[in-house]
């Protein structure tokens, strides 16, 4: 695996981790909507996730449709598909 691909894989795995953390704290907050510690946890990891997604988009293209910024071309559809080794 090339160095660039390794970095992409690492960043992708980090996004998976922080996305899971956001997902799980959302489940907790559904039943604990006033828990300040949980809200702080959510805000922290939401921010971390958004930064990672932005970094991924800058380096390798959009991973989610939220970070797809059509400029000159619709890069979202031009990236490799998952069965072609892509991640989105």
């Amino acid at each position: 695996m090339k160095g660039n691909q390794m970095e992409q894989m690492k960043l992708f795995q980090w996004i998976n981790m922080v996305s899971f953390a956001v997902n799980d704290i959302v489940l907790y907050l559904d039943t604990h909507p006033m828990d300040q510690e949980a809200i702080a946890y959510f805000n922290h990891f939401r921010e971390v996730r958004m930064k990672a997604l932005k970094e991924y988009e800058d380096c390798y293209g959009p991973l989610t449709i939220d970070t797809a910024k059509p400029d000159q071309k619709w890069l979202w559809a031009m990236q490799p598909m998952p069965w072609e080794g892509g991640y989105c």
């Binding site: 953390a21 799980d24 704290i25 946890y41």
Partner: protein, 154 residues
């Protein structure tokens, strides 16, 4: 147009007086055989079944002295026992509980049956994101890996 709300006679009185519903015919008398003028034997058989010995005492063990619930007369005025008045742990000396089971005392024994209880969760510590993804939860107290063993032997 008639005012059906204020009309003194809505027409119901013109209906013939309601006849009493005939009793359901006895199945035994419907099979083309000679009709039995006496009462149907079916309810009698049912009553006889109620007087059979309780299955709990049919296994040859004479030590069971509890009355069969089917033989107990209905007592509609009898108040139900309050769960709070029940013994704290009736399962503790249950003979069917294996001696080596670490969960011999059932903490839920005083709870009403058929209700589900989920203890309240509090926010304490959390896993690091990599560990959380591995365990499927950010909460260490909810990380319950399944090993396919353990629990009370049945």
């Amino acid at each position: 147009m008639a005012n059906y709300h204020t009309a003194p006679d809505c027409g119901c009185s013109q209906n013939p007086p309601r006849q009493s519903v005939p009793e359901k015919p006895c199945p035994a008398s419907m099979s083309g055989r000679q009709a039995m003028p006496a009462s149907c034997p079916e309810p009698m058989q049912r009553r006889q079944m109620m007087q059979r010995p309780c299955p709990a005492s049919m296994n040859g063990r004479p030590m069971i002295q509890r009355p069969c619930p089917a033989d107990m007369p209905a007592r509609p005025g009898m108040p139900k026992p309050c769960p709070a008045d029940m013994p704290m742990n009736p399962m503790a000396d249950c003979p069917s509980m294996p001696e080596h089971c670490p969960h011999k005392a059932d903490p839920l024994a005083v709870m009403p049956i058929a209700m589900a209880y989920v203890p309240w969760q509090f926010f304490h510590e959390t896993f690091e994101p990599d560990k959380a993804l591995q365990c499927g939860t950010i909460f260490p107290e909810l990380s319950k890996p399944f090993y396919g063993k353990g629990g009370c032997p049945k």
